[in-house]
Symmetry: C2
Subunit: 314 residues, 2 copies
């Protein structure tokens, strides 16, 4: 796999421009006062299909050669990437086969179904997901679009940071949640390619801290038995992602689930924005490590808003 | 009391411009497809203090003569106007005395307190509120700013519609919730003053339908024992409000609480916006009376977002 570069992120932006939203950047006087920082929230919960994942999935689907006789696209996903890929597949009129753990949230399953994706359930382990995906590929002849360990997906996810740097000039730091590492790797490529002076800080749940450990040890560590409310961040960091992250990311910090829930509630009550746990991890990082951000201009990527409002974590 | 006119709304806009937000207008592809209309949501849940009430309260406070020796401002309110008046009072450095029914929501009480307002609790009947307010005025010498039956408040509330007509040109109809009638009267003045071709449709909960009855009968009917989830719309229509509404509003429709909850959930899940029950009443009207709106460009005022997220109505 070729590692993507800034130019790939820029090309992705042109490729997906007509298919995804340029999401707004929101401010909050209350949260600025609360943190002592100037916070610029990049609202990817307002993205199509409710998460930044639409960017990478759309870039991957639109990167398929028009001439290719593609039988469909397939992936495994706990939710947001699945819905995003199903949505992107409709642009090319392709079937989408989405392998989902049986314990994926109902709202994420119904989003996949709403875009016409075919859901194939499996156990929630990485091994079970990969085995089921292999069998789906064999049965359907579909092309796999991995949720994060894919250069087209990484380049697509980086387009949010390109927009954010234009919408909020002169940022000192950009804060991004990390799970599999697609958003973080794409963001790091975009930010360091355009303005290496901007710090890139990743935030990870304590209960799924493989990126934190991998970054510290300098070698890829697997995530076994993740235990966090942030269901979008339970995946193991990808190899391609890790190579980019170790090169371009400045630091990775971790946050407990309690801080994630607090941040989520602040998004809801103060900004009136429905943000899912994984989407609130950036703000949780700012709240947990205030000294790092005080007095600075901080871009925070709010990565998703797909919550089951009938089952809230409080 | 002088009845306000379009010019008062326009002056209010200039007066409050530096003190309140010009809120954004949001679209939703899903809700457009669902209703067959083009919907333009005026996001007053993103207004300061979380509701359009900031406009009227700020206009009232800033209309007090600078030279006047004002001892403070006071009102009775189930919540959003109280928080808005407490917020507006801080602009002039005035104390704010807010009479609230003991059963007002915790989140609305804490908003008043957060702006430094002094809360005085009373029974939830209109008579009890007015008696308590009278005693507060006697004790403090404060100036009363009624939540809706006040020309300065009506003019202030109308500024949201002035913005909406610029942000979403060529609307066919503007849909507004009605409780005491401040927002509706102000909107009607703004809309009919500038472009009488635009239809003004008010939406009211079935369980607090005094505006609907008053409008139909041509004389002001009191609201006794309101029974609706939309706690911001339980008040009785004001006299001044009714005079403006009967002159300038095209129609009033009612919606059951079930439709309000459905609309609220759509705001949350599809638009990722935290909207309170009263704030979702406009969309509820569109959903309940689809034939009235299909194929038209519809402005919908989303009036507030102050929900107690620990106690959701589902």
């Amino acid at each position: 796999m070729m590692s993507p570069e800034l130019a790939d992120v820029q090309e992705a932006r042109d490729r997906i421009a007509d298919s995804v939203h340029q999401t707004p950047v929101m401010r909050s006087q209350h949260l600025d006062a609360h943190t002592g920082a100037e916070l610029f929230f990049k609202c990817e919960h307002l993205q199509k299909a409710g998460a930044f994942k639409a960017r990478g999935a759309t870039n991957a689907v639109l990167s398929l050669e028009e001439s290719e006789d593609v039988a469909g696209v397939a992936t495994h996903s706990s939710g947001n990437h699945g819905a995003a890929l199903a949505m992107a597949a409709t642009i090319r009129g392709l079937p989408a086969y989405i392998v989902m753990p049986a314990n994926a949230s109902a709202v994420k399953k119904s989003a996949v179904a709403a875009y016409g994706g075919e859901i194939i359930e499996c156990e929630s382990t990485l091994a079970a997901r990969e085995a089921m995906l292999a069998s789906v590929l064999e049965r359907t002849g579909a092309v796999v679009v991995h949720p994060y360990n894919d250069p087209r997906v990484i380049a697509g996810q980086g387009t949010a940071a390109l927009e954010l740097m234009e919408q909020a000039p002169d940022l000192d730091v950009i804060v991004v949640p990390v799970g599999g590492g697609g958003l973080l790797a794409g963001t790091a490529l975009a930010v360091k390619g355009l303005n290496p002076r901007i710090e890139v800080v990743a935030v990870e749940p304590e209960g799924a801290d493989d990126a934190f450990r991998s970054f510290g040890l300098g070698s890829l560590q697997a995530q076994t038995n993740p235990n966090t409310i942030a269901d979008g961040l339970r995946a193991s960091l990808g190899e391609l992602n890790f190579e980019i992250i170790r090169k371009h990311v400045d630091t990775i910090i971790t946050v407990p689930d309690a801080a994630i829930v607090d941040a989520m509630k602040l998004h809801w009550t103060r900004m009136k924005q429905v943000v899912e746990p994984s989407g609130a991890v950036g703000l949780a990082g700012v709240l947990e490590h205030p000294e790092r951000f005080r007095g600075r201009r901080v871009g925070v990527v709010v990565s998703g808003g797909n919550v089951d409002i009938d089952h809230l974590p409080w």
